[in-house]
Amino acid sequence: MDALLVPLIVGCAVALVSALGVILARRPVHGAVALLIHSLSIVALYLLLAADLIAFGQLLIYSGAIVVLFLFVVALLPAGGIERAATSSRIIAALVGGGALLLALGAVLSVQLPAPAPQPATGVAPIGRALLEPLVVPFELTAPLLLVAIIGAVTIWRRQEVER
């Protein structure tokens, strides 16, 4: 475990710094790149936590699809979507909101975690079995969700299309 501690700390630090980059970048394209780094650092953290499959999922779905989608959208923005500098009231709001949340979560999370149970055999098969046995209903319920997302994206995009 100790051998893991240093890379883990590094991974967490990268994740936090890149997240900071996302929220501080005035150019959305910079933000998207920071989001990519953030996503990759999360991939690393998953690997360190011995969650291999989900690490690959994150890499494919998040870094590969979602972040790229963000980059596409940013490319479509007029003038790169650059925004004005944040006013002081906005900064205060961010500090207060983030701080309050951190305080509340900190108060909750300051408990002793149970020692990790022995790790199960890794591999794809157990996860597949978990998805199809205890989680079969949630797994199936992703179908209507994705359907809504697809129809939604198409209809919103065609909302302003000129009728022929």
């Binding site: 909101g97 309050a100 949340l101 305080l103």
Partner: protein
């Protein structure tokens, strides 16, 4: 008959449907039969032996302490139904002429039908839950009828004022209906030890009932809505804001007098509230410029008498005065309506005058009503008011003498209206009195004179009501107090002549309504401020939501 009486509240509903559907060449003609049948049903019930009968459908609203659909037919309900049927029938007939040509005439009759149904349900209700249905229904009907002429300024505001006052009463009654222990809610057993065992006991229940009654009957500081309610058509003022609905508060106190008697403090408050409202309403009436408002304050004052009686452990005197008052006050309003209608809607006392020659029937019946109002011996008011003053002198002499003094005030204000409108120089040119408006006045005038003889000398009314109200002291007719009250009333009328001569129509006065206005203003300002927080700024929304989540998380998970 006892099986049918509980269902008399549906009698006006066919009329409502027919009128709304456009049946009848004269709009509203299909509606007038419901009240007549209601009156006949109530009379038939008395005639066939007055056998009490209840309709109970248990578990109708199972989430209430007493959730049965309970309709009670007893002497008190039948008496109220008879009053309601009698007055409303003649008001309907009168309205056929009064509302003629109004584009909303059909709607007017539909509202009236709805009102009568709700009022009948109110008096037939056997539990707090059923009572509430009628209670809120009459409030709604009152709002719709006050705001009936939407093209006239201020009618919506007047209706909302009435709603606001009613709302407080509804709140009190609603609370009373949900806080009684399980299985309670029957109006006749509300005073039993089991039912007053809840939090707050009998005192809390009595307070809630008193607040509800005071709001409905415009007592004390809650009177503010009645004067503005006069914006509605005059037949409405006669039926709802004089004879029946405003008396529902008195009815409630009488119906639940057992609870009131368990809370001596609340009794005393009720008696004083009634007495002071009686005096205050009478005095304020003296300063009104508007004819109908002058009468409205008179109603407040007379309801004060009834409240005082209820607070003086004399429920029969209270309900007896309710009975006689319904006739003579409806009569006064309808007679006033003839004058207002004939002068083309003139209600300003400064512009009315000398109408007795052109409107003899209106004058004659108004005079009869005025005499009954001051308690002239041998008229209906004479009997009922003496009963209340006697109760006062017996239970609490100070209140008794104040009630006696009230007779003088009564004479003063009604004399002022009588002389101001029907005597003096003629300032308008009224057209004739329509027959349909005049002849409903006659039976009301007759009842205003003879209603007292239902009790004296035979004691018929008190005998019928004994099963409901308990033992009733016999009426002492033509007593010294009665004589004194009559003399004071006549003196008041006499003294009012110089007042009319010197100051025709003083400045309009509304006393003690400032708190309601201030409360309303504060509510609306707060409302605008609160709506201003909904800024449409995503950042603000997100900040507020996140702070909310953080606070709830801290409180809930750490406590």
């Amino acid at each position: 008959m006892s099986a049918l009486l509980p269902w008399t509240w549906v009698l006006t509903l066919p009329g409502l449907v027919l009128t709304a559907a456009g049946v009848g060449r004269r709009p509203g003609i299909a509606s007038i039969w419901g009240p007549l049948v209601m009156l006949l049903a109530a009379l038939a019930w008395f005639a066939t032996g007055a056998v009490p009968g209840d309709v109970v459908i248990p578990n109708w609203a199972p989430f209430l302490p007493d959730g049965s659909l309970h309709l009670r037919a007893d002497a008190l309900a039948a008496l109220m139904l008879a009053i309601l049927g009698f007055v409303s029938f003649f008001v309907y007939v009168y309205s056929l002429s009064y509302m003629e040509g109004d584009p909303g005439q059909r709607r007017f009759f539909c509202y009236l039908d709805f009102f009568v149904a709700a009022m009948a349900l109110l008096v037939l209700g056997g539990t707090l839950g059923v009572l509430l249905v009628g209670w809120a229904g009459v409030g709604l009907a009152s709002f719709l009828l006050i705001s009936f002429w939407r093209d006239r300024p201020g009618t919506l505001r007047a209706g909302l004022d009435a709603l606001a006052a009613n709302m407080l009463g509804d709140a009190a009654l609603l609370l009373a209906a949900v806080i009684v222990p399980s299985g309670c809610g029957d109006l006749t057993t509300l005073g039993t030890p089991r039912c007053t065992a809840g939090l707050g006991g009998a005192a809390l229940l009595a307070w809630l009932l008193l607040i509800a009654a005071a709001a409905k009957s415009a007592q004390g500081p809650l009177y503010f809505w009645i004067p503005t309610a006069m914006a509605g058509p005059t037949p409405v003022s006669a039926l709802i804001h004089a004879a029946t609905m405003v008396a529902a508060g008195v009815y409630l106190l009488v119906r639940t007098h057992a609870v009131l008697e368990l809370a001596p403090g609340v009794m005393l408050v009720t008696a004083w509230l009634g007495t002071l409202t009686m005096l205050g309403g009478g005095i304020v009436s003296l300063f009104q410029r508007n004819f109908k408002r002058g009468l409205a304050y008179s109603t407040i004052s007379q309801l004060g008498y009834m409240f005082a009686a209820a607070g003086l452990a004399a429920p029969f005197a209270s309900i007896f005065h309710l009975f006689t008052h319904a006739f003579f006050k409806a009569l006064l309003f309808l007679a006033a309506g003839v004058a207002i209608h004939a002068t083309g809607g003139e209600e300003d006392l400064a512009r009315l005058g000398g109408l007795r020659r052109r409107l003899p029937v209106s004058f004659g019946t108004f005079l009869v009503g005025a005499l009954a109002l001051i308690g002239f011996p041998a008229t209906s008011g004479g009997f009922s008011k003496d009963a209340i003053i006697d109760a006062g002198l017996r239970e609490n002499p100070l209140i008794g003498y104040l009630l006696l003094a009230g007779a003088l005030v009564t004479g003063l204000y009604i004399g002022r209206l009588l002389f101001g409108v029907y005597f003096g120089p003629e300032r308008t040119h009224p057209h004739h009195e329509p027959a349909l408006q005049v002849w409903p006045l006659v039976p009301l005038a007759i009842m205003a004179v003879v209603a007292g003889y239902f009790e004296w000398p035979g004691g018929g009314l008190s005998r019928a009501l004994t099963p409901v109200l308990g033992a009733i002291e016999p009426l002492r007719a033509f007593s010294a107090t009665g004589l004194a009250a009559a003399v004071l009333g006549l003196a008041g009328i006499g003294l009012s002549w110089p007042i009319v001569q010197s100051a025709p129509g003083a400045t309009p006065a509304e006393v003690g309504t400032g708190w309601a206005d201030a409360l309303g203003q504060a509510g609306y300002s707060l409302s605008r401020g609160l709506a201003g927080l909904q800024t449409g700024l995503l950042t603000r929304y997100a900040l507020a939501s996140l702070l909310g989540v953080a606070v709830i998380l801290l409180l809930a998970a750490r406590l």
